[in-house]
Amino acid sequence: MNILAIETATSVAAIAISSDEGTEEVEASRDMHHVETLVPCIQDHLRQRSWTMRDLDLIVVDIGPGLFTGLRVGVSAARSFAAALDCAIVGVSSLEVLARQRRQDEDCWSVIDARRGEVFAQHFLGDQAVSDPLVLTPEALGQLAGDQTVLIGDGAQRYRDVFASMGLVVNEDVVTPSPACAIELIKARQLTTGQDLRSIVPMYLRDPDAVANFHVLDRFKS
């Protein structure tokens, strides 16, 4: 089975391509250049294998939570690929992919930078999610997390000092979700037959700004 995984939930854009021979993971860009680099990166790596898009059987896409503009680039491309190729598509959660990337910690929180002083976070024990995905301040997360846990992800590293001051351990190895791990996760969960294309939308967890700040619009009154 030939699988393409698309990862755009953080400021890093990456892809993984997997076949029976194994999985190759490539970083397309750092610093929010998703729309410029994602599709050209896929093009390059298909070419290197002498594949075309038609050789793909499944598209895996990270649906977040994460940075909205990045997610939209990845999900928009993934949905268009799946529709144009009539190929299966499946969405994965960035927090679940991160949790799978930890090597030995049984108890962990996946933590992704949500900007504006907050993080997206979810608690896992072994392979099981034991909380919903949340959006909260690092301080609030620190109070929620027990001292037996390990925090992983770019949000954990960004607020490393906050967590350290609360006696929490930050994993220094895992930064952003790995598309190769996303493929592993999909295979482990036997989700390779795909989902309804139109159900693949980003997990935002936050209302659009304007909904939260409706009153701000009053300033346009005059």
């Binding site: 729309v35 928009s76 491309a77």
Partner: protein, 339 residues
């Protein structure tokens, strides 16, 4: 290749649109999914809401455009994909551009990045293939008020523009102030039909000089008048405001026509759907003995057919774009500036 087809995609603001346009600029399909209902309660376009909505309807809208043109997502029967790469809301542009790139790679066809403004300038071409040049295009919408000399496809000169609010913005702000909701243009237009355009004494700013216009003073004058007298009839407010706005737009447009000796006046943009502006522009053109190209309402507002038309031109002029092309929310169309 004489019968080629372009799939065009537009998502720069609050309409998600796709169209199939032939090389000889026949529109085989044009699908527009409007988000007006989503933004209504906020009195204007909310960028994050727009970005989310584009993502959900992009692929269904593209599919509908292909199906209406007798093709399908897997058998698209097209030669290139044209997409708006700017100007516009970045979170909205990204959705269309990313989808377009993915489709190009999946189908093995070239990508064409189109400037949204150039799309508006081509909208008239789709319905009036015989527009006589030079033409003056008055581009009026919520984001634009520009007088542009068009000497032919790809040859533009900016003659004048608003120095503050766009005309459509003034319509929206006045409408919101008097409680008419969003978008303001159609509501004011409807009400104005039964009102007295001379009920309020309103300024016609900058009528004396140049080709630039200003609408912020007019908007403020309406608001002051409404604050002073709460007995004013809504219809009279609408009619007076509309008369002042249209007076300025038509007078400046005809001054631009004189300046460049234009053979045609073209209206474009959402405000070009305004009935009073259309009536008065036609009247002024008849008087001046030049043609007046009034696009249908569907061609005035944002759509993808106009992006397809501009796409064919860009493909012929510059060839296709690299898949690395980015979105540019403030992409300025290359235009000479009147000095």
């Amino acid at each position: 290749m004489t019968t080629g087809k372009i799939l065009a995609i537009e998502s720069s603001c609050d309409e998600t649109a796709a169209a199939v346009v032939t090389r000889d600029l026949r529109v085989l399909s044009s699908v527009v999914s409007s988000q007006i209902a989503l933004h209504e309660s906020f009195g204007g376009v909310v960028p994050e809401i727009a970005g989310r909505a584009h993502l959900e309807v992009m692929e269904p809208v593209v599919e509908a455009a292909l199906v209406q043109a007798g093709a399908s997502m897997t058998q698209p029967d097209i030669d290139a994909v044209a997409v708006t790469a700017g100007p516009g809301l970045i979170g909205s542009l990204l959705v269309g551009l990313s989808a377009a790139k993915a489709l190009c790679l999946a189908w093995g066809v070239p990508l064409i990045a189109v400037n949204h403004m150039e799309g508006h300038l081509f909208a008239a071409q789709l319905e009036n293939p015989n527009v006589a040049f030079p033409a003056v295009t008055l581009l009026v919408s919520g984001g634009h008020t520009e007088f542009i000399e068009v000497r032919g496809p790809g040859h533009y000169r900016l003659l004048g523009a608003t120095i503050d609010d766009a005309a459509g913005e003034a319509y929206d702000k006045v409408a919101r102030y008097v409680g008419l909701g969003y978008p303001g243009g159609p509501a004011i237009d409807r009400l104005a039909q039964g009102g007295n355009p001379k009920a309020l004494k309103l300024p016609r700013a900058m009528m004396g000089d140049g080709l630039d216009v200003s609408f912020s003073g007019l908007k403020s004058a309406v608001i002051r008048a409404v604050d002073r007298d709460d007995q004013l009839e809504l219809a009279d407010i609408a009619a007076s405001f509309q008369a002042a706005a249209v007076d300025v737009l038509v007078a400046k447009a005809m001054r631009a026509v004189d300046l460049v000796d234009a053979k045609t006046l073209v209206l474009g943009g959402g405000v070009a759907a305004n009935s009073e502006l259309r009536r008065r522009a036609q009247e002024a053109c008849d008087e001046a003995g030049i043609a007046c190209a009034l696009p249908s309402l569907a061609m005035c507002t944002d759509n993808a057919a106009m992006i397809g038309a501009a796409g064919w031109h860009r493909l012929a002029e510059n060839g296709p774009n690299d898949l690395k092309v980015g979105a540019d929310p403030s992409w300025q169309l290359e235009m000479e500036v009147l000095t």
